[in-house]
């Protein structure tokens, strides 16, 4: 089983690097979908098949389709000159080095912590559902309020305002 984890991990990391370094937005989004599918395989290997299905259906299915829809609607294929100037090595090398330092810090922190595993039974989706609607019921309701606010906000932001002029000035 372990070899599947490493294969999926390498696929996820390589496709994520391709996604953040690409020039063409659509190609990068397709690489990102590949990365999400690889992470979904890892969820399955971690004995969370329900979450793996949610990852494919919601992340790779719904959210990425929204991205691709907006990208195609705005018709932004190849980037403009301004960003090409920003992608010179002297511009991205310092943020990358700082982030790499943070990553080394995290590696050292993880290596120095001892963790003890719990029981031996895998988690069933039924347990997740029971926990979601008993212990975390308040969280579910807050998430519902958040989704409602998101729907209203996206509708408000997405609607094109009509330019209102005086009716006598309106050009027929």
């Amino acid at each position: 089983m372990d070899v599947f984890f490493y294969i999926a991990g390498v696929v996820a990391i390589v496709s994520t690097i391709m996604a953040i370094s690409g020039r063409n937005a659509i190609h990068s989004l397709l690489y990102l979908i590949l990365s999400l599918l690889a992470v979904s395989v890892i969820f399955y290997l971690l004995s969370a098949p329900f979450i793996a299905a949610l990852e494919v259906i919601i992340y790779a299915g719904a959210i990425m389709v929204l991205f691709i829809f907006v990208t195609m609607m705005l018709n932004i294929g190849i980037e403009r000159e301004a960003e090409k100037k920003w992608l010179q090595p002297r511009m991205w090398i310092i943020p990358s080095i700082l982030a790499a330092i943070l990553l080394v810090n995290l590696i050292l922190a993880v290596k120095s912590v001892q963790v003890i595993p719990g029981g031996s039974k895998a988690i069933q989706p039924k347990q997740v559902g029971i926990s979601l609607f008993s212990t975390y019921l308040l969280g579910v309701e807050i998430a519902a309020i958040l989704l409602m606010a998101g729907v209203i906000g996206a509708y408000h932001l997405g609607s094109q305002k009509k330019k209102v002029k005086h009716r006598f000035l309106e050009i027929k």
Binding site: I63, F67, R80, E83
Partner: protein
């Protein structure tokens, strides 16, 4: 059953998170910045799943479902904002949106 040490698993999630962080810091195209935020959200969710599997508690998966809801809301709002920015400025360059800056 997976026998990969938990350090390696957390390390994988950390690499994904920092790839997203580098993308957010380096790219100026707003679509790419939003994609990088998605990568970071996904890596954070992965840590929850790893921890939940390690301690055999369902709480990690519950937290991932909450992260999924937050991500869906965030993406829809951010894409609506990107559409508005594109209509106003005719570009997606995050540096072009500097109307509040003094223009000397």
């Amino acid at each position: 059953m997976l026998t990969v040490p938990i350090g390696i698993q957390i390390l994988f999630a950390g690499i994904l998170f920092f790839l997203g962080l580098i993308g957010l810091l380096v790219r100026r195209n707003m679509i790419f910045m939003l994609m990088s935020i998605e990568i970071m959200f996904n890596a954070a969710g992965l840590v929850f799943i790893i921890a939940g599997t390690h301690w055999r508690q369902p709480d990690g998966q519950v937290m991932f479902i909450f992260i999924l809801a937050v991500t869906a809301v965030e993406v829809s709002i951010a894409l609506a904002l990107i559409l508005q920015v594109y209509h106003h400025f005719k570009t997606l360059d995050a540096d072009a949106i500097n109307n509040l800056k003094d223009s000397n």
